[in-house]
Symmetry: C2
Subunit: 418 residues, 2 copies
């Protein structure tokens, strides 16, 4: 059982490192990122050997092939992680950016600058590449990273963290810019969630259960990420060929990701035409269908959808379909069941589109485009630390700017208040 | 004892109203703000009568004169509250502002817009003017407001909320845009902190005890406000006349506010000269002094400062003074003891100023200016809902923009991901 003192001591080391990182120039941070990339490549055999121990343990424990694949680090994947660090080095430094500024009536000069958050903790599941991504993005934004990965990737994460921390130290920056939480049991998460004052934010990435556990129990501020119960609404004024292509893409192009579509809403006026057609196409793509009463009458192979279906993030070849009374009905359905990640409207009616944008309260609205585009790289942010589904601080794909806070600097020449 | 169901039902009413408020035009919101202002003025006798019951109860319960003064609503103060609503109406609407936008390589058009947070809950203490300020700022930013004021102002808050809600309804907007939590006991706060999904954010304003209670127990996201243990650092290169004026202003111009200075740090090289001088000036202004060992040797009337002094937000004519070894020592002291609100440096040495700005991690840094300037109105925001001392979402004075989230809208013409 991981002790509270061990976790707090780890966070304290990161806190001390964070104070060194905050005022660093971009050049020094980029030098560290390149050293980290080089170190991954030159230590490839060590990383592969550590990862093989995790993979063997996973296989022995009966881990499924999908998870084993996400856990496995090959030389090509290690090269890709190194390349990711070099691309992060090439991005502009968010720290120091002036967000707002003015000279006040009394002559005071006001400026609001971006500054690092301080200590960023990530809690995540099996993929060890998250260790490298998070370390790179936190370092670039001047934050220290406290990483708590999955037990199934612990050997890989230990090896990666040691190699990255050594690389950071090799250019004269603090090793503790990246620290791994000792232990991977539930207690290690519990103690991290209590480290208010040492940790500035916790970003949980993983399944809905992990995320809601952290959101409900942490006294450290949390950024909620990534549960995606995404909807596609096909309006009466849709181009039905376009609608079919987008629905198939959103549902099947990659099924295990949060921006995959899980629900289809169809305008009642076109349901008799479009529902059987899209059901056939989805069926051919191997998608299991659920439907409301009206859909089941049109699609014999669809089973009756339950409340669990309307809330589910399937992450599988499975979809629930409802027939709605226009864009108002679509917005109502989404408001009741969505996780607030991404919803798409397929329509050529500008009034329907405007209504959908105004009344659907989600992080991203796609108009005549697949839900799969909600992604930091697709949005041109260059890197992504996660996708926020909350409203405070950041909403949608989070890049480097979302790992910063701000500081006001006010310059006077003896100004006092009257 | 306030029941959970009553609090949740109140929040649910606000949630329904919030969905109506979110897409409203600026014109309709400003019309409501003017109706609210007019209603305050025309209902002045009702407000004064309700307030007199609170004041009489407070006096009977032995409330001190300072608190009684903050609780009292006079005709002039009611006019001022109405004027505040009219000034809020004159501010630009933050909702709909485009924060970021671009056309991506694949032709997708990306825009990030400001949208309301949804339901904003305020928990605050005796001042009933906060009821009107919060109602106005929330309405202007398209949010519904759930207000939980102090028990000592309950009659005033009930009268104000009824009048404002009627005024909102009179222009065809939902009455429940402003709701008062039933009850003012501890349970009413507890139930509000559990209303995740109904309430989007809780902003506690008041004493340090209230704020830390909410921060530690709420599962609704919280914006921490206002505890100010503010420091003034007088560097060796300071203009000592300017330093004296700023210290006196920051400490004594208004003592009960979070941006008043509570601590003075003096560079060791000028301590023999400046410490006796400023101690004399502070003494003449009636300020009780505490000091570290070196200060006490120079100032016989200063008592030895304890750890409690270094963390205290006195909100009184009281100040603790420490002698520090240069700007590095000042930054060290602040890092250990500050609440992260506002710190000032008095210096003409640009290297000391740059070091202070880079190494002091607070919401606002004043250079040769009084700490008293950290304020939404002084910063030109036109209105202030509080001063955030946390790093997520908002830091420093919060205006209308800080009561918003964002939404991405992505427009394509059949884009699918490959």
């Amino acid at each position: 059982m991981t002790s509270k003192n061990d976790v707090l001591a780890t966070a304290e080391r990161a806190r001390i490192a964070a104070r060194v990182l905050a005022p660093l120039s971009r050049a020094r941070k980029d030098e560290a990122l390149h050293a980290m990339a080089d170190a991954l490549v030159s230590n490839e055999p060590t990383i592969v050997a550590a990862n093989e121990r995790d993979v063997a343990a996973g296989r022995a424990a009966g881990m499924n092939e999908g998870l084993l694949d996400r856990l496995t680090l090959t030389p090509a994947r290690i090269q890709a992680m190194a390349q990711g660090l070099r691309e992060t080095a090439a991005l502009p430094d968010p720290v120091g950016e002036v967000v707002r500024g003015s000279t006040l009536a009394n002559g005071l000069r006001l400026a609001q600058y971006r500054v690092p958050l301080g200590v960023v903790a990530m809690i995540y599941e099996a993929r060890p590449n998250v260790t490298v991504d998070a370390a790179g993005l936190c370092l670039k934004s001047g934050n220290a990273a406290v990483l708590r990965g999955s037990g199934s990737a612990y050997q890989s994460n230990m090896a990666l963290t040691e190699i990255l921390a050594d690389a950071i130290a090799s250019v004269g920056l603090p090793r503790d810019a990246i620290v791994l939480v000792p232990g991977t049991d539930r207690e290690s998460v519990t103690h991290l969630m209590g480290a208010r004052g040492l940790v500035d934010v916790i970003i949980p990435r993983g399944g809905a259960g992990l995320i809601s556990h952290v959101v409900e129990n942490s006294i450290v501020p949390v950024i909620e990420t990534g549960v995606g119960n995404c909807h596609v609404y096909v309006d009466a004024a849709a181009d039905l060929d376009m609608a079919e292509q987008i629905v198939i893409n959103a549902k099947t192009q990659r099924i295990s990701v949060c921006n995959a579509a899980e629900k289809l809403l169809v305008h009642a006026d076109i349901a008799d035409d479009f529902v059987p057609r899209i059901a056939k196409a989805l069926n051919q793509a191997g998608v299991v269908l659920h439907g409301d009463e009206r859909v089941c009458a049109l699609v014999p192979e669809a089973s009756a959808a339950t409340d669990d279906d309307w809330t589910a993030e399937y992450l599988a070849l499975e979809m629930a379909i409802a027939i709605v009374d226009g864009v108002e009905g679509a917005a109502e359905h989404i408001s009741r069941w969505s996780s607030g990640h991404t919803e798409a409207i397929i329509s050529t009616d500008s009034r329907a589109i405007d209504y959908f944008i105004a009344h659907v309260d989600s992080a991203a609205i796609m108009v005549n485009a697949s839900t799969r585009f909600t992604d930091g790289a697709e949005f041109g942010f260059g890197a992504e630390i996660g996708i926020s589904t909350q409203k405070l601080h950041a909403r949608g794909p989070m890049g480097l700017a979302e790992l910063t806070s701000t500081k006001y600097v006010v310059r006077g020449d003896g100004h006092v208040r009257h």
